[in-house]
């Protein structure tokens, strides 16, 4: 296949990617967008077989095909079987391996080019290795955090900032070393240091900020792909990588805004903010806990009820039960709405997805900005497995990990009912003062069980 034809088809694939991103930014066309992206990627992959070795069969063809088959066998079932609640960490993992792949490609190309590499190519290689490695190790850490294989709290270590700065310096220095004098060993050292930096850089990020970091690393990986595209003189990789880099950057900013965080604060906040919150053995303070019957009575005599779902709803898979309850209340003449916080759950839009699964009518899902003004007129708020997104500490406690995040102001409603299993805090690991308020009733237990009981109690009234 001629270089020209190859480039032309590559351009076509690039346009598929643009259309994919365009599609993905509108709910109606999102799925089609994703499919267009997949088509683009397939085209790009298939044609490289006809182009790479001047039209002859590729060297190491069986190995290459085997590796692809293996990748498919690992990737597809993982993507198919993962639970909704675990998708964010899977995305993190996929992003990490992409970064790793980019770094490896750069290293191999560097080995092959040897001394014939131009300065620009070496610079691009070093960039790819550094950023790819950071993305790889950083994503692994975010994966571990989200999978709760390690603590979701910010990991703060003594002289943390200094250590991170020092590592970064070392990364840059070894990078400069590769550029000035070349050689494989320096590049590998550079890569190793970058891996270390990725770990150190993500460790102090608080759990709630992890999605932002995934998005940032995602954008980074995009840039490494663009840089690889330059070294390999493949326009498609430049277009695709740059698209992801640019859109990822914007997306990261948008996500940070939705969570009320500054990007800088997200990344470096842990060391600067004093950890004033989340301390004190407040767990021994008294709380008011109620029975399913108490809750049913409260709900039955309410004029207006707002249901606030959170991560616990997903864990308990209680979306169908909550809908049953809502329908029952509506039938009884109660005005019911769902108050949806943009970052409730473990991924943006998590609650929408979950409730859509239970066929909750879309009109009942009210976004934060719209539902907040209605809380003073709301009699009962039913908080189903949410915690951080209703935690007033976000407004009252400067320095706590969620400070500044806009929340659902359920404390303005007449009564608040929490369905949760224990007094344990939510994702951000901080105490929720609202649980101790006199207007709050706690119904302990798995959300699905509790809801089922409430439904029966309501029917019996």
């Amino acid at each position: 296949m001629s270089q020209n034809l190859y480039d032309l088809i590559g351009l076509l694939a690039g346009i598929c990617f643009i259309l994919a991103l365009k599609g993905l930014s509108s709910p109606k066309s999102a799925r089609r967008g994703n499919i267009i992206g997949a088509i683009g990627a397939t085209i790009a992959t298939v044609i490289v077989f006809f182009y790479a070795n001047d039209g002859k069969a590729l060297n190491h063809l069986p190995l290459i095909l085997g590796a692809i088959a293996f990748g498919v066998l690992v990737g597809v079932p993982a993507a198919r079987k993962v639970q909704m609640t675990q998708m964010p960490q899977l995305v993190a993992l996929f992003n990490g391996v992409g970064g790793g792949a980019a770094a490896l490609v750069a290293i191999v190309e560097y080995l092959k080019l040897g001394d014939s590499a131009t300065v620009a190519e070496v610079v691009a290689t070093v960039f790819t290795v550094i950023v790819g490695c950071v993305s790889f190790s950083g994503s692994i850490i975010t994966f571990l955090k989200l999978q709760e294989l390690m603590t979701t709290r910010p990991v703060i270590f003594p002289f943390g900032r200094q250590l991170i700065a020092l590592t970064l310096l070392a990364v840059l220095a070894t990078g400069g070393w590769v550029i000035s004098s070349g050689g494989t060993a320096p590049l590998l050292i550079n890569g190793a240091l970058s891996l270390l930096f990725g770990i150190l850089f993500v460790l102090p990020v608080g759990g709630a900020d992890v999605p932002i970091v995934i998005s940032l690393l995602n954008a980074f990986t995009g840039l490494t792909v663009a840089a690889s595209g330059y070294v390999l003189q493949t326009t498609l990789l430049i277009i695709a990588g740059t698209l992801v880099g640019a859109s990822g950057t914007i997306l990261t900013r948008l996500m940070a805004e939705a969570m009320g965080r500054s990007l800088f604060g997200t990344l470096f906040g842990a060391f600067t903010a004093k950890a004033t919150a989340a301390t004190g053995a407040a767990e021994s303070r008294p709380v008011k806990s109620g029975s399913p019957d108490d809750v049913a009575i409260l709900l039955n005599y309410a004029q207006r009820v707002v249901i606030v779902p959170g991560f616990g709803l997903a864990v308990a898979q209680a979306q169908h039960t909550v809908r049953e309850l809502a329908d029952l209340l509506t039938a009884k003449g109660v005005d019911v709405a769902y108050g949806i916080h943009p970052v409730a759950g473990r991924m943006p839009g998590h609650m929408n997805v979950l409730l859509a699964e239970a066929n909750v009518p879309y009109e009942q899902l009210v976004e934060m900005e719209e539902v907040n003004p209605t809380f003073p007129q709301t009699d009962v708020v039913l908080v189903v497995g949410a915690n951080d997104v209703v935690n007033p500490a976000a407004k009252t406690t400067p320095g706590c990990p969620i400070y500044g995040m806009p929340i659902l102001e359920v404390d303005k409603a007449g009564n608040v009912i929490f369905l949760k299993r224990s007094m344990r805090p939510g994702f951000a690991g901080i105490e929720n003062e609202l649980l101790y308020e006199p207007k709050t009733t706690l119904l302990f237990g798995d959300a699905k069980d509790s809801l089922t009981k409430v439904v029966s109690a309501l029917k019996a009234l």
């Binding site: 109606k28 190995l63 293996f70 663009a226």
Partner: protein
């Protein structure tokens, strides 16, 4: 026009396209969009195949093959997981007003 300049132009224009296309996406779609973009950078697979073909030493080949595996996981897994997420959004009735807003928001 020199090759370097052409690539630079393409790079810069792609930045603008990337910025603009995504700049008004609704919160609901943040996760699928991130995941879709993530799948797209899986095309590094193309690069991995290219270097695997060129590989001469065993070290090179090994690294390239690992890269192929990783890139494939990234790409294929990414598209599948995105599709799964988006399936949830599909076919749900939406109120006129809202869907119109999201329509124009996504153009």
């Amino acid at each position: 026009m020199s090759n370097e300049l052409a690539l630079l132009s393409i790079f810069l224009l792609s930045i603008f396209v990337g910025f603009e296309v995504v700049s008004k996406v609704s919160t609901t779609l943040h996760t699928p969009l991130m995941s879709g973009a993530n799948a797209i950078h899986g095309v590094i697979l193309v690069g991995a195949i290219l270097v695997a073909d060129h590989s001469e030493t065993t070290l090179e080949l090994t690294l390239a093959i690992i890269a192929i595996v990783l890139a494939t996981i990234n790409m294929v897994g990414g598209f599948v997981v995105t599709d799964r997420m988006l399936q949830m959004f599909k076919g749900k009735p939406r109120p006129k007003k809202d869907s119109a807003g999201q329509e124009s928001g996504g153009k």
